[in-house]
């Protein structure tokens, strides 16, 4: 009698439920904690989700296709600036205008830069994407269109301050709590989209290109076109991340185009595990959390810590925490699922 009662649950556990349980648990944590947390924590969590979206989009090119791009800051910055400039120049606050624009601008930039950077491979690709990031940085620095110049201490900073939360539903203003849930929804949608993309034939073809491009070519795949489309799609998600970040940060400056920003999703992907979809998101949460801890204790030494994170993640966590977690969960499932005797 008792055995039968548990049999159903065990089946469920070994099937879909076991597969999705970690996501449900993480989802519940992400949904409930901010409700009780301080606004600072909500801000930090929203930031980590923005970077998680960015990192997952980046990982489509980095982990799945195997292209080492150091220029994704361009698309992230483009998304952020699209939102910011719309508010700054045209005073349009609607989400329904801003988000499509952010995505369109990022994807358009990738469509323009793609043919140039994809002419090269390997080391040249890396150097070239790096250089383009810096090009956009200097453009954003030097053009009046890209925001106001303000002097902080000795250093002049050009940027767009005072970015406010978007109007999603007319008449309802977002608070930091509702904004967090709004970002969370966006993150979940992006996750599902990326899940569909990476599990489609297209996604598998990208992995094939990573493993062996000549072989994929021999199989008749037009690999250049696959890489180009992957770059554009990845840029779109980076743009979404950038827009989320701009709203959350309330300020955007040229450094978000530059290589410092481009490296973040890369280190997040490596920490979390670049071969998985959720790995970069885990990496993003870890990095943002450490940054938050540093910012309330030793703010001036944060770059030192970040550099340390880079070194440690390369030397000790190369497979990625996400991979370890997935394996651990698999063990738990086997352990507690197969106890029938």
């Amino acid at each position: 009698m008792e055995k039968d009662k548990w049999e159903g649950i065990r089946r469920l556990w070994q099937g879909r439920l076991g597969q999705f349980a970690p996501f449900i648990i993480v989802g519940l944590i992400l949904l409930t904690i901010p409700h009780f947390a301080h606004a600072d924590i909500q801000l930090m969590m929203a930031k980590s989700l923005a970077f998680a979206t960015f990192a997952m989009g980046y990982n489509l090119v980095f982990g799945y296709t195997g292209l080492l791009s150091l220029g994704h800051g361009v698309y992230f910055g483009a998304g952020g600036y699209a939102v910011a400039l719309l508010q700054y120049h045209l005073h349009i606050y609607s989400f329904w205008m801003a988000m499509p624009l952010a995505v369109a601008v990022s994807m358009l930039l990738a469509a323009i830069l793609g043919p140039i950077v994809l002419r090269s491979t390997g080391m040249y690709f890396l150097l070239l994407t790096f250089a383009f990031g810096e090009l956009f940085y200097s453009i954003a620095w030097q053009t009046k269109f890209m925001g106001v110049l303000s002097v902080a201490g000795q250093i002049a900073v050009r940027g767009i301050p005072g970015i406010v939360y978007p109007d999603v539903i007319p008449g309802i203003e977002l608070t930091s709590t509702t904004f967090y849930y709004f970002i969370f929804t966006g993150f979940v949608i992006c996750y599902i989209l990326l899940y569909r993309i990476t599990n489609s034939p297209f996604g598998h073809a990208l992995v094939g290109i990573r493993e062996s491009e000549p072989r994929m070519q021999a199989l008749g795949y037009h690999t250049w076109r696959y890489k180009y489309i992957a770059l554009i799609v990845s840029a779109g998600f980076s743009g979404v991340g950038g827009a989320m970040f701009a709203w959350n940060n309330a300020m955007i400056d040229p450094s978000h185009f530059a290589v410092g920003t481009s490296f973040l999703p890369m280190v997040m992907s490596i920490i979390g595990g670049s071969t998985t979809l959720f790995g970069p998101a885990i990496g993003a949460v870890i990095v943002t959390f450490v940054e938050y801890l540093a910012s309330i204790t030793i703010r001036a030494r944060w770059p030192l810590i970040l550099g340390g994170i880079f070194v440690v993640s390369v030397m000790f966590a190369r497979a990625g925490i996400g991979v370890y977690l997935a394996r651990l969960w698999e063990k738990v499932r086997v352990r507690y699922g197969n106890t029938k005797s």
């Binding site: 890369m266 070194v311 993640s313």
Partner: protein, 286 residues
């Protein structure tokens, strides 16, 4: 005419400093296949140590140049011995690791020397001007051109005419075979990495006459170096020299004619050359 000559000399001396920056990186990337993004940070470290010795302590400028190079060389050696040695042929990891060191070195420099930029300095003995057929031109700039030329010849000789160069080139093609012949490739790699980092630090002190030393110089310098080796092509000294001179001269004329568009000409040259020849002017396939 005078405008033309001055701009050309400016371009040459600027290009030679760029060559000093890029030469070390070009050797490491081309010969050892290691992407060292901390190269610019090593340049900055050399600059700071040079500033400390020449300006703060008031010692001889050339001693400062040597110490700057030595410190950068030793730090580079540490990075290679402790970390990069284990990441042979793993480009992603090399890139991430060396960029981590950019953050670490930059932040430590900021910690030690503070955020205010150090003003440009040079050897006081060379503060006058030469009279080149009626054109007055600063002595230090001429010296820079001379140093760059000597270094280019030396590196070319080292890479193409010596036993060490032969070992390096052979090691690039077939590492196992070279090791199997009883050659200690690790020691040669160490030597080359030290030399490249030394040149970076050395360039940091020499280049301080142009830009001074400041805390975010590491990235700026790295960008210069990358543009040059992209334009010139990875893997040959001639390529780095050609790239540096082209960029230097284009930038000097661009700056003189259209001051507000300073950096754009470099990028323009880079993009045009890449569209025409994706492996750079004198590059070989890697």
């Amino acid at each position: 005419m005078e405008f033309f000559a001055t701009s050309l000399l400016n371009g040459l001396s600027f290009g030679m400093i760029l060559f000093l920056i890029a030469a070390g990186l070009s050797i490491i990337v081309g010969v050892m296949g290691i992407i060292n993004l901390s190269h610019g940070a090593l340049y900055m470290l050399g600059g700071y140590f040079g500033w400390m010795i020449a300006q703060r302590l008031g010692l001889n400028f050339w001693l400062a140049v040597f110490i700057g190079g030595l410190v950068a060389g030793l730090v580079g050696l540490f990075i290679e011995r402790a970390f990069l040695r284990r990441l042979y042929k793993q480009m992603n990891e090399q890139v991430l690791l060396t960029f981590g060191f950019v953050y670490i070195i930059t932040n430590i420099c900021l910690w030690v020397w503070g955020g205010d930029a150090k003003v440009p300095f040079w050897d006081p003995a060379l503060s006058g001007s030469f009279n080149l057929a009626g054109l007055l031109y600063p002595k230090t700039r001429i010296i820079v051109i001379a140093i760059g030329t000597v270094l280019a010849v030396f590196l070319w000789w080292l890479q193409n005419k010596t036993r060490v160069g032969a070992i390096i080139r052979a090691g690039m093609d077939d590492r196992e075979m070279v090791t199997g012949l009883g050659i200690n490739l690790a020691r040669v790699s160490m030597l080359i990495f030290f030399l490249a980092a030394f040149i970076a630090g050395f360039a940091g002190v020499i280049g301080a006459q142009l830009w001074g030393v400041y805390s975010y110089q590491g990235l700026q310098t790295l960008l210069f170096a990358l543009i040059i080796i992209i334009v010139g092509g990875i893997g040959s000294i001639q390529g780095a020299l050609a790239g540096a001179l082209i960029i230097g001269i284009v930038d000097a004329f661009g700056r003189a004619l259209f001051p507000q568009l300073s950096m754009f000409f470099m990028f323009l040259v880079m993009i045009i050359i890449l569209i025409a020849k994706p492996s750079g002017l004198l590059g070989r396939k890697i």
